[in-house]
Amino acid sequence: MKAAPFDYFRPASLQEAAERLSVNSDDGAMILAGGQSLVPMMALRVAYASELIDLNAIKGIDTVSRSERGIAIPPLVRHADFHSSDVAPGPLGHVLATVSRHIAHYPIRQRGTFCGSLAHADPSSEWCLIAAALDAEIELLSVSGRRRIKAKDWWAGVMETVREPEEIIVAVHLPLLPDDIQWGFYEFNRRAGDFALGMAFCCYRLTEGLITKPHVALGGIEEYPRRIPEAEAVLEGATPSAEVFGEAARTASKAVNPLEDPATPAAYRRDLSATVVRRALTSATQTKSSPALSA
């Protein structure tokens, strides 16, 4: 099918986009960045826009910037830009490169954007999981100014966020990861490239052999991805072992409130949540991105 008619506006700056959105968002104007979710939804007539404000002609918003503490990802950074681990320093670059290859298929990754994934807020979005797992901050712009939202406060439900209709995501901020971090990602779906039925990202550091500051996050299981504090509490101060990982995985699966769909009952997703956490934690013990191990 074809999208319903809409007006088209091509701003030259984010400020101009925000001004246009403040005037037209009440009528149903929307931001168009990569369009790899919005355009098919418009073609299937499950999304309608009175006007599309296309960010693609704006200069200078297609490159990741680095600071001492982290990276900022502006609106036109595509999923495929993370295929190379050089895009972010240290282990963070390896995490993003690994995870990016799980997003949809190659041609979709050439166009879809990181910020767009956060705006779309699909429960199965890999970037949403990473944002939740690494405590990202989402920076919004509107005519009334800028504000930053912490990832844990970002989602309001399935494909719902606290973003107001007149706000644009102008950056997602991710913290750098320490060189000695152990991390693992595991995603399950029935066919490569499909939406994840369940996925986990886990990371921790070792202090004298004991796990410190563990992060355990699940995506595709609940209405939106989040860290699971109950599972993190099991890991904190423990020695990494199959038993500890198994207990953390079981604890996570008890703590979640899984989504249900006709092909996937909630009990299946609950079971899957334990599997993906256990596999992500097991994979974390084999972290290769840390310089000490890869040298």
């Binding site: 088209y8 369009g35 790899q36 009175s50 295929h83 041609p107 979709i108």
Partner: protein
């Protein structure tokens, strides 16, 4: 709302003057306004890959871009592959390896693979397998497409190694 926008589309090095409503996809504009019907339209929501073209060096779905978005870009389609009636190495490899039967998906596969080789000439075999899963083929079972791609990948690798003076 459905008023036509006038703009220019550069396809395979040729400029086309287009007048179409914003909702027209790049795939439809290529076929109907540029009369380049080599780009095929299958699912119209980004899943099948029959409409894959190369825009500014990236292999993308032409059904997930509006034509108006491609103004100022360099678009390449399957019609741009052969030079002076000589097939490109990838096109020839498809024939040599029997990598097509009905041929509906072929233009999309050719542009997908061309785009990937261009951005990432050192793409490895596992990544090529993942790449081919992007598009749907209902005839070949993919095996022969993979053979054609690997044949061209080996040639590209040999050529780049020769170019920097390494033994091939």
């Amino acid at each position: 709302m459905s008023e036509k926008i006038e703009f220019s589309l550069k396809v395979n090095g040729t400029d086309f003057s287009i007048a179409c409503p914003p909702r027209k996809t790049l795939a439809d504009a290529l076929r109907e306004d540029c009369r380049l019907t080599g780009t095929h339209v299958g699912c119209e929501h980004g899943v099948c890959g029959a409409c894959t073209v190369v825009v500014d060096g990236r292999a993308v779905r032409a059904c997930l871009m509006f034509a108006v978005q491609a103004q100022g870009s360099e678009v390449r389609t399957v019609e741009g592959l052969a030079q002076n009636d000589v097939l490109s190495p990838l096109q020839q490899a498809f024939i040599d390896n029997h990598a097509l039967q009905c041929g509906f998906c072929t233009p999309g596969f050719l542009m997908l693979i061309n785009g990937a080789f261009e951005r990432d000439p050192d793409i490895c075999e596992d990544e090529l397998t993942e790449l081919l899963s992007s598009n749907l083929c209902r005839c070949t079972g993919y095996r022969n497409i993979a053979r054609a791609v690997l044949q061209v990948a080996d040639k590209l690798k040999a050529r780049s190694e020769l170019a920097v003076g390494k033994p091939s």
